[in-house]
Symmetry: C3
Subunit: 311 residues, 3 copies
């Protein structure tokens, strides 16, 4: 990361970069267990949350992370209507740069928007989700959570289950897991899978058949509007074939880890009791998210300038 | 409060607890008169304002209070529509907890919501108003204001005037005043009073008759939609019988204290000139609100961990 | 400024006051070039952004400025609908004052609103734009930008081009430029000019004729709704006569400075390539805006109380 200025997607990161982010996040996770969960590392730095899609949970996670590093945080939420009559992404970006912000955390409905920003800005750009494309901090927090539960990840098997086609969580997550040397399964009905093969990923339509092989069951959120698009016949049928319920969990390995990026549709992709079973690492993912975002902000903004060390 | 973790309603508090909160608030009120109105007591703590109803004034009051204690503040405003399609209260609460927040200040249209949160969270929960049920920091700031004006409250007489039935301010306020040994009158038309007797409270329909007996006239806000519900025939008639105007104020004791939780409907429950008369303690209530919220946050989050003393 | 408590419009300022603000801003502009862009000058002070009109860029600029002075910032955004059913400006102001805020930065659609606030509040009031009336920090940041590009301003010529009639930017900007001893031209079709003469300002309808005389071309934003009001026949015709495009820029002095208050309508009042030409100081204006707002907040809140000096 020493020379890296941005975090746009996980494939910009070498395995060594990922290792460094994960190690840094682990040391911040220790800070987060203290009564005073704050370090002065980014005092005097300004981080903007530039959100063109509503996402309270991701925005709050970045905001908590930045504040615990003692950075100042500005929130900029643009709705579709304000974008229409207001200034475009480029002028907004140039305005923020001219104000001297140090990092721009951007969520945008259009895939590629953070790459456009990179052309215009000196500030560090952190992709917090662009269209159906990428969500690298989610992928990194997922790796951190998996390591906390399972230790070494090389050779482990993870199944991403559900709407692979429309999911930036799956797209970045699959790349990150592959980079760590994991076996990756994509489990979904054919209509929720990309038309093209995903390199190095085994595709399965039959969830029940693969459950016993998996160390991690990663359940994706189902957008109910996919049914109207004809992606699956009914929520009932989807649930019947792909919901992780207690019966299916019973066929998994005893130490299996259940993950979900949130927010969950309890009773659709995951049964309510499974969401609260000891196998579920779903709240652990949220905690890991703060540590990962602290690590990425620290490494992009503070690490190379001799800023104060993680205390 | 030493063992208390939450502030849900005033009846959780002993008279000794209340005294400790009021004393602490008084020392913070001194801090608020200094040029630098800030103490480091809650540095490194994170307070979330979780507001499911719009309320700029209460949210700002908690935000100012937390910032003057040097806590970090996150604002989460959920509108009805975002709640519909978003995650439920439970998942939001678990997400905030997993992010390591120390206190959740919650306002919710459903009575009892803060008690639900208590089942799920380790963080301190502060009820900032739930449905028509409770609003304990309002009751405490009202006591602080009354003490500032009148000194000892035991034996004093307070009349809550107006929409007792729908008012969480009245519900918590009556409990708090009763706990301090005050005489409490509820003054309203029968349609704006609860069907059941309120323990220890004297009900009157005739405002004029009781004015001379009162040390405090506490005017409640009238929601204009109550007229459509048939709770009173017209604003004109309500105003005629229950508005505190200069004529009625003239019949009160010379040192009477006029209070209102805000925002006021000038010309409905209170005349514009009375709102600005020297008897009115309405802006004093706002000032007391910051001190009370500082005290409650300090005692719930800082007091027991050897945090820095109120300077 | 020593005895000044508010910044309502530029005509409250003597030329000496302006000089002091510009000098202070220049020293803050140096702070903004450091890796740690923060000074402790306003620690413990609270600044409220009270915005009755949406304006992300101005609100962010004040928020960045206040945070870099270590003040606490509260954001209060009122929409038309919340104003309707909520409390009026006066009660909101009294509530903020009672919470102990030190400065109120106010934007309001009604001309004169900040002057009303002044009658009610002890806190410093900063006008961030009232109706079509005044926008003094914009005028000051424009002066700072002009000085950075041109040095001494006395005797220089500036043309304000476009919708002079509805523009608070032009109204305050013209006053500020006149106070600095500049020649001021107002260039617009007759329907976008005030009916009355503007004192000391030369009016021209023919943009091409005056371009060679100008040191600064200040392009104003065109609100497209003005066309519906019959202020000009069509955007095409407006653009034909008044857009600053490469052809017109070619007729200007080589060192001419192009300015715009943002957000720009590229292709209407300014051509896209001109907005990015080296003559354009448009992002420099944004940077100057942070420095000016720091200077004004510092001088109004910190200067007279022996607060820590600009480091």
């Amino acid at each position: 990361m020493a020379e890296k200025r941005h975090l746009l997607d996980v494939d910009d990161l070498s395995r060594e970069d990922m290792g460094r982010i994960l190690d840094t996040a682990r040391s911040f996770a220790e800070v987060l267990k203290r009564p005073i969960k704050k370090v002065p590392s980014l005092r005097g730095k300004t981080v903007v949350n530039l959100f063109y899609e509503p996402s309270t949970r991701t925005r709050l996670s970045f905001e908590v992370a930045a504040k615990r590093l003692s950075a100042d945080v500005l929130n900029f939420s643009a709705t579709a209507s304000s974008v229409e009559k207001g200034e475009g992404l480029k002028d907004t970006a140039l305005t923020l740069e001219a104000m001297g912000v140090d990092a721009v955390v951007v969520r945008h409905p259009v895939a590629g928007a953070p790459w456009l920003l990179r052309q215009w800005l000196e500030a560090a750009i952190l992709n917090a989700g662009d269209g159906m494309h990428a969500h690298p901090t989610q992928a990194l927090l997922d790796l951190l959570t998996m390591q906390e539960r399972l230790g070494e990840l090389e050779g482990r098997t993870v199944a991403f289950v559900g709407d692979i086609l429309h999911s930036r969580v799956a797209r970045s997550g699959i790349k990150a897991c592959r980079a760590m040397g994991m076996q990756v399964l994509a489990v979904a009905p054919p209509t929720l899978l990309p038309a093209a093969e995903i390199e190095g990923v085994e595709v399965c339509y039959d969830f029940d058949a693969v459950i016993p092989r998996c160390d991690i069951l990663y359940m994706l959120r189902i957008q109910k509007e996919r049914q109207k698009e004809g992606r699956f016949p009914s929520l009932e049928e989807y649930t019947h074939l792909y919901q992780l319920d207690a019966r299916r969990l019973g066929k998994a390995r005893p130490e299996v880890v259940v993950m979900h990026p949130g927010p969950m549709n309890r009773g659709v992709e995951i049964a309510a009791d499974v969401a609260e079973a000891p196998h579920a690492a779903i709240t652990a993912q949220v905690t890991a998210g703060v540590a990962i975002r602290m690590a990425v902000l620290f490494l992009l903004l503070g690490g190379s300038e001799g800023g104060e060390k993680v205390a």
